[in-house]
Structure formats: structure tokens, C-alpha cells
Symmetry: C2
Subunit: 279 residues, 2 copies
Amino acid sequence: MKPQVQSITSFSNPKVKWVSSLKEKRSRDEEKKFFIEGYREIFKAIKGGSDSSVPTLPVRLHSLFISPDCFLGENESKLIGSVTCPIFELPKKIFEKISYRDRPDGLIAVAETPNANYDWDLFPALNLNPVLIIEGVEKPGNLGTILRTAEGAGVGLVLVTDPRIDLFNPNVIRASTGTLFTLPTYISSLSETIVNLRKQNYSIHAVTPEGKSLYSNTDFRKKSAFLFGSEQYGLTPSAKEESDDTLYLPMFGEADSLNLAMSCGIVLYESLRQRNTGS
Amino acid sequence: MKPQVQSITSFSNPKVKWVSSLKEKRSRDEEKKFFIEGYREIFKAIKGGSDSSVPTLPVRLHSLFISPDCFLGENESKLIGSVTCPIFELPKKIFEKISYRDRPDGLIAVAETPNANYDWDLFPALNLNPVLIIEGVEKPGNLGTILRTAEGAGVGLVLVTDPRIDLFNPNVIRASTGTLFTLPTYISSLSETIVNLRKQNYSIHAVTPEGKSLYSNTDFRKKSAFLFGSEQYGLTPSAKEESDDTLYLPMFGEADSLNLAMSCGIVLYESLRQRNTGS
């Protein structure tokens, strides 16, 4: 049944405050909801993943907030027509208040926060290459950029271990351009991740400035998992010890030339190059 | 002669307003000065480049603003002792007002804006490999990240053609972590750039999603120049026509998986891999 569109006309409508509050972790935890802004991001949240053996995060929309005055494209009505959750229409001025963006595009969804813990029993991830492990990531924007790049490089599964951030932080979703919903991305402990990947004959490559082997001299055609540490602290000692090898990227100039997301992208594209060319 | 440190104790001191104003392009243009914040960035501005045949941008400090209460490290006094320009000391509260950062580290320099136009007669750039050309870049932070990564990948010279931003925007400097001052970075027109590089037997590789050749199947061991377009508009038609070839990066998922800086980093590190391994 097509949901009816309800109008919100006042700044003091409690829904306005409620949606805005979901930008904060405390409210997301209390409400078990999160905030998805933007056509592209909501589109991907509805679409989900496609051809992976591991499902993407199960996202169920709770409500949709729209402001047709802000629409930028031509496909908004199709997207709105495809949802079954309650829809609220807001004038531009009120929408701008709940928006997270400088130039909102008139679409904000609230979704039920899914369980993001990886279930190793259900999804052993046998045929995915490569797998990406991100340990202790601190900046939501970095994780988002990593997800976006990982999808481009054909990563099959991303495991976020011991994150210092909330996976459903609006900045993760924004920087990922919605890839959080189309690339299988889960939380797992590092020890469980390593044990399970090793059981399945993955080589676990830790990438760190103190690595011992040149990344591009390493064979990534076999089942590979790449392990990256946090922006500030790098990899934990146990992460380095538990890996099969440690890899470095060559670097001219100062040692801080590459940020975390850039290092990820370079290594992931080298692995794609090797898989594509067979050498 | 060691400069004397002058104290600023009032918010209404005209220097406070003046330094702050340099965050805006109009003031930078009027004053012919720009704003460098942070120990690392000022250190690199003083140090400049080292072993390149092309000099880095000539930076001359005009004045230094310090707030010892904000210092984070142990080398600030050495840096302060090395400058010959006037030095002004501010209490933390006033310094925070002129700072561009959330957590200022107590050091802001004002420098004379150098002429950033590349002089092809003086510096023919004969033995640099690779050269990086960035056309029409729109976001200061992206240019900064590109410079930082380019230095890591051993780029010899960066030419920014037809930029839509000011090279001395504080966000360029910040995202570059000061690499703007240690890696030769200049402005040039695209046509002059292409003519001059071709004279010197550079292959000019345009990188674009509509490229015809796979980037990693291309030989980058010869003298190579990489040409990247703007975030929103990509390469201009003439940039594509004037290049020797057009290269693409393979991409799974959506077509927008890689941002400009990430594409740059991946291609530059592939060129470094080829130069290092000879294949």
C-alpha cells in the first residue's frame, strides 16, 4: 500500500528535533535508528548488495523526510514511490535545519540500526578475494573513503575490528557515498577474524610503515586479507604478530606522505592489478 | 640579529584582525601575503625542497605569531630561533581566534606570496620523472592531499593548470601537510605545459573514466607526465586530445568509487612500482 505523505509545517514539530538528534551517537544508540542523507546514499541503502556470497548490512527504512524544493535530479519521485515507510514532507527552511549538508538534496531517511556483528558461522566467506580488515579506525570520514575505494577495487568483504567510531556515523555514510550499504561491511574482533580467515587459507598481510616486505613484491593472487591500523596508533602489536607478513609502501619525502585511506587504495589496486593480469 | 618578541595582549590589536583576514582570498591578494599554520607546515616552508633540479616555491616569512601555551612538542623554540622576521606572542585565547584549527599548536606564520607561475625558460625540467599535471582543480583539500601523496610517490614536479582555487588557500597547505613547500609546485597554462613537456620527450598520459587503455598496462618507465582533470568536470576536451593516450582505472561497483586524489595516488604508485622493479 502506498504510504500517505504527511506534512510537517512547524519547527517545533517533535519529529524535527528527533531526526536531528540522530546525528549524535547517544541518540542513535537509544533509538536504535540512524540517519541516511542524500539521494545516492538512500538509493544504495534500499538497493543493497548484489552478487556477493556475503549479504550486505540489512537496512530497513523507518521513515523518510522529503523537501521537494531541494530536489536536484529527476529520479526522486521514483525513489519516494518505492518506499513503504511513512513519509514526511517539510518546507525547505525546516529541512535545512535537520540536514547534515551545506546543500541538502531534499532526502533524509531514518533506518533501523542493523546488527553489524559478523557471524562467522553463517558466512564463512570462502570465495572472497580480497578481504579488507580495518583495525581501530578513528575518523568516520576515513572509513567512508576506504569503503568507497574498496568497492572500486573489488573487495569482497570489509571487517572493521575494534573501531573507535560508530559504523553508522553520518560521516561514514557520506564519505562512503552509500557504499556502506552495497559492500558487505561488518564488525568483528581481530582475534576471531584472524582465526577464521586462517582456517580458510587466507594470507593475512599487515600493512604498516615498519613493514618488512615491499607491498608490490608480494603475491596477492591467492586468497589475501589486508590488515590496516588506526590513523594515530597504527596496528596493535598483536595484529602485526598474528599476520603472515608485514608490508610497507615505498615513500619519498617525509614519512607521513600517505594517509590511511590512500595507503589502502594503493595496496588494494595493486592486488586488483595482479589478479587482472595474473602477474 | 635575533628578532625581539613583541607581545599582543588585546583582541583589538589590529594585527589580530589582519592575520585572520588572510584566510580570505581577497585579503591574500590585496596584501600579497598568505597564512601558514602549524609547526610541520612552517618547518617545511622554511626548509624548502632539497635535491630537485627545479626549485620549490620561494617562501619568505613576513612575521610569526606564537602562543607558547599551545605548544605540543619540544622543537618549537628551535624553529622560532631560526627565523629572522618579527615575532609576536599572543595569549592562548587570542591565538585561538586567529587560528584555523580546532586544536592550534601555537604557531602561525605570515609569508610573502611568491610568484607561482612556472618559468619554462629557466627550468626545462629535463630529468624529472614523473611530472604531475592537475587541471582545473576545485577543492583545496584535494589539491593538498594530491601534493602530499605525490611527494611520497617521488613526483619531480607538479603543474597546476587553470586552477579554480588559490594555491595559497589555507586548506591546500593544511591537507598537503606543508608539501606545497617541499615539492616543486607551480601554475602553468595547459597548452604551454603540453608543448614544453613534449619538446622534452615526455609521454603525456591523461587519466579519465573514459580512458581507452588500462593504466597498469602502460609503460611508465620512460619520462611520463600524468594529467588529471577537475573533480566535477573532469578533463577538458583539449586536454584529452593533446595527450598521447587516455588511461582508465578498473572499477567495480558504482562509477564514482574513486575520488580525484585517490586516482592520482593509485596511478602514481603504479608508476613508482614500474620504475622500482623495472617491469
